[in-house]
């Protein structure tokens, strides 16, 4: 049985696409058959983050309009044989697809995949409505900032009203040094305010920028963010994994610098 998960946030730039790429890749590493769908028509990005931008021939709108078969539009990731991407159209806009068409498209994929991940555009308009129409559950991504949390709260309300049966929270871009100083809300503050289940917390990690530059998701690598994303994948499968201690210093030099910072 397949599960359709929408990754959404309301606010832009909080890490939806990065999360989709890493969670999708992580689930594929766990031997699940995964398809990633970029639903951001007009502003496609999941393809570059995945490093698959040069292999696009057809896109989501082509499939919906019947210009090609689904198989022709799906890009198989050569690094993971059970991971595919359905890219979005770059030269169209959100109104090119309706929620009903999205549901039909998703249903046609259910048979072939264990997990269907939808990268949702920012905002709460047509693009958002398209993305959540066929979703069974949602991952709401936020950062510990007032604007992102406010938008996340609105999104959580809308997801509930649209009968998405399970909504979990990912707190992204945590800076433990700032949290320690009291200059950033901590994980508990955010979950208190939003009152939904936390499925993972991702530290602000330079490696994310580097991996995006290279077009290679970092899930499963040895850095903190890579481990945090891998943990989220295990939790999606229903495993009980304790929250990562985000304060682990990655190297000795970090510890060394820290001793001096405190004084």
């Amino acid at each position: 049985m397949s599960e359709v998960i929408v990754i959404t946030s309301g606010k832009g730039g909080v890490g939806k696409t990065t999360t989709t790429a890493n969670v999708g890749t992580g689930l594929a590493q766990l031997d699940k058959k995964v398809v990633l769908i970029d639903t951001d028509i007009g502003l496609r990005n999941l393809d570059v983050v995945m490093g698959l931008e040069n292999r696009i021939v057809y896109n989501l709108v082509d499939v919906v309009e019947g210009n090609c078969r689904m198989k022709q539009a799906l890009i198989k990731d050569k690094r993971y044989p059970n991971l595919s991407l359905l890219p979005s159209a770059q030269t169209r806009d959100k109104s090119a697809v309706s929620p009903g068409q999205m549901v039909k498209l998703i249903d046609s994929l259910r048979e072939d995949f264990d997990y269907i991940l939808l990268d949702c555009p920012a905002g709460i308009e047509q693009g958002f409505k398209n993305a959540i129409a066929g979703a069974d559950r949602a991952l709401v991504v936020t950062t510990p900032e007032v604007s992102a949390i406010r938008d996340a709260d609105r999104i959580i309300g809308l997801l509930g009203a649209n009968e998405v049966r399970q909504t979990d929270l990912i707190v992204n871009r945590l800076r433990m040094d700032m949290v320690k100083r009291g200059d950033m809300m901590n994980i508990n503050d955010v979950t208190d305010i939003l009152a939904i289940n936390l499925i993972g917390a991702i530290p602000d990690d330079e490696q994310i920028v580097i991996s995006t530059n290279q077009g290679e998701p970092l899930v499963g690598t040895d850095c903190l963010a890579g481990k945090a994303f891998a943990n989220i994948c295990h939790r999606i499968l229903g495993e009980n994994v304790p929250l990562l201690d985000l304060e682990i210093k990655s190297n000795l030099w970090g510890k060394f610098k820290d001793i001096f910072k405190k004084n």
Binding site: I149, G157, V179, D183, I193
Partner: protein
């Protein structure tokens, strides 16, 4: 944390949390402070028929309430109404 920090005002993280909590109450309620004020005045009127209440100390909020059995949460109208004196109903 240095000694100086102790005398500083609230940390910016706490300020953010407090601001958000207030903000989300009105966001979630989807009704303006005016409407909340009207609800509040109506509550005061109705309850005052039966007992003497502290209208100044009355506080109403839209909050979230957990449903039983971890089925998510629903909005709830929370009212804190301090009673000054229980009037005897028969005196009216």
């Amino acid at each position: 944390m240095s000694l100086l920090d102790l005398f500083k005002k609230k940390s910016s993280g706490t300020i953010a949390k407090d601001r958000l909590k207030l903000l989300l109450v009105s966001d979630r309620a989807n009704c303006s402070p005016d409407v909340m004020e009207m609800i509040k005045n109506d509550i005061i009127q109705v309850i005052s028929k039966y007992m003497e209440i502290d209208a100044e100390g009355l506080d109403i909020q839209i909050t979230q309430m957990d449903l039983e059995g971890n089925e998510g949460n629903v909005p709830a109208l929370y009212a804190n109404i301090p009673i000054k004196d229980m009037k005897h109903p028969s005196v009216s």
